[in-house]
């Protein structure tokens, strides 16, 4: 496993741990899970999860980016892209 993949996995698991408290329906979380359609989390709750992610990774994720993110996988990718840019 390359370090990028390892990191990717860690980010994915971190996001899952932050989302799990909102996963009332007990949906199995994968990279393809749609935050709003599958988990029925409202748009404001998504923003609040993102705030936790921002503080965890010490990055800022613009609202403009979040509004384009649908799935957990896309969120993982966005975090990588921003980490690269901001560090």
């Amino acid at each position: 496993m390359s370090s990028i993949q390892e990191d990717d996995d860690l980010v994915f698991r971190k996001i899952c741990s932050l989302i799990e408290p909102l996963n009332d329906k007990g949906v199995k979380l994968t990279r393809e899970t749609d935050l709003i359609a599958d988990l029925e989390i409202d748009s404001v709750a998504v923003l609040d999860v993102v705030m936790d992610i921002e503080d965890n990774y010490d990055i800022s994720i613009p609202v403009n980016t979040i509004s384009e993110i649908k799935t957990i996988g896309e969120l993982v990718d966005a975090i990588h892209a921003i980490k690269k840019e901001q560090t």
Partner: protein, 402 residues
């Protein structure tokens, strides 16, 4: 795939709750107004405790007279934008009066408070060079202003100067302009911002501070100039935005500033340029109300007395309140279902408050939002407190598990 499919989950939830309680919390019609704090709804007189009419000036005699006179003299509508034929002498005069009252050099009047924030934010910050930092619990018009601007927008934790500071530190060096937006008193919970600290952090990093005092104008500060007056940083705020539709009992909005460049908004702010200006009636009413609050502190004194009475009574009743005492007193409900039923129970007992549910509220909370008015009489508040007293019993009984 229909255009309307996306609304179905919300519509299904909303209509089911509406039908269950037999009343529409988001479609109440005040069939006949009976004064600043009373209305007939479905043939029954209700105490209005969800209005934003903080200083109770909707029937202020001098404002009513000035409004009638303005309509007779200047007509019912301006039929044009501020940028074209919609600026009358009264619009200019109100800008001068507002600037004088607040102690700023400049002021621009918009058609609504929503448009004042929309117009200021979207014009001031532009993609791709500028960045906007907003309090996470900001009003929809601040979010919409960011969207219209297209500039990169970053949220900081609600009322948290440290969280703002971290985000300002993270910004790269390519950022040209930085605009930090937050409010004085937040409309849903009635909590107030650490305005002084937020302004200081913004300035420390070379950012401009935009403060929305929509709900705190007329309410806070020694002269009613808002939280920034109370925090003694009024002259530090770069852009002060406000509305006529709360304490000034009209409709319209404004942006005030000491920056001479504020005038640039008049030819660059789309929500200023491409909508009709406030009607002569709206301007006359706001002007008269501003005169009234400039010369008479008694409404604000009464407002706070009323707020303290209600807040103390609700605390005693054991309600889960969202914030320390302010004219907005929000009670946290356990669930959306419970909130709908509790709201309906208050209506049955002659009291209208605002039902607020996620995503319109912070932290996915469902609340009953009450706003106190200086025009509430002792009897009005007796009715309100009695209704809440009965509700408290209901919540520990029949509605406990909703």
């Amino acid at each position: 795939m229909s255009l309307f499919d996306k609304f179905k989950p919300t519509a299904t939830m909303y209509y089911a709750l509406r039908d269950e309680i037999g009343r529409d919390p988001f479609g109440v019609s005040m069939d006949e107004m009976k004064g600043p704090t009373r209305a007939l709804v479905d043939g029954k007189e209700i105490v209005l405790a969800g209005t934003n009419n903080y200083l109770g000036l909707t029937y202020e005699e001098s404002a009513v007279a000035a409004t009638i006179k303005a309509v007779e003299q200047s007509g019912t509508g301006t039929t044009g934008s501020r940028f074209a034929n919609g600026t009358y002498a009264a619009h200019r005069q109100l800008e001068i009066d507002l600037a004088a009252y607040l102690g700023y050099k400049h002021c621009i009047v918009f058609s609504t408070g929503y448009q004042a924030n929309l117009g200021a934010i979207s014009a001031l910050a532009q993609a791709p060079d500028d960045v906007i930092l907003i309090d996470a619990d900001s009003h929809a018009c601040i979010y919409d202003g960011c969207q219209l601007s297209g500039a990169e927008t970053i949220r900081f934790r609600h009322n948290d100067p440290e969280s703002l500071e971290k985000r300002l530190q993270r910004l790269g060096e390519n950022v040209k302009g930085k605009l930090v937006c937050f409010e004085g008193m937040y409309s849903m919970f009635g909590d107030t911002a650490p305005v002084k600290e937020l302004v200081e952090v913004a300035h420390k990093y070379g950012a401009y501070a935009l403060l929305d005092e929509a709900h705190s104008f007329g309410v806070f500060g020694e002269n009613g100039r808002g939280i920034c007056e109370h925090d003694e940083v009024l002259d530090q705020v770069d852009f002060y935005t406000g509305t006529f539709s709360k304490s000034l009992a009209s409709i319209g909005g404004f942006v005030a500033s000491n920056h001479d460049e504020l005038e640039y908004l008049r030819f660059s702010s789309r929500p200023y340029m491409f909508t009709a200006s406030p009607s002569p009636a709206n301007i006359a009413a706001a002007s008269a109300a501003l005169k009234k609050i400039s010369s008479d502190q008694s409404m604000r004194v009464q407002l706070w007395e009323n707020a303290k009475r209600v807040h103390a009574a609700f605390t005693q009743l054991g309600f889960d309140l969202c914030a320390p005492c302010s004219p907005v007193i929000a009670v946290r409900m356990k669930s959306r279902d419970q909130a709908f039923k509790a709201w309906n129970f208050l209506m049955d007992n002659g009291v209208y408050v605002n039902l607020a549910i996620p995503p319109g509220t912070p932290n996915a909370t469902s609340i009953l939002r009450l706003s106190v008015s200086s025009a509430h009489t002792t009897e009005d508040l007796d009715i309100v407190i009695n209704a809440y007293g009965a509700l408290a019993e209901k919540l520990s009984g029949e509605l406990k598990d909703d």
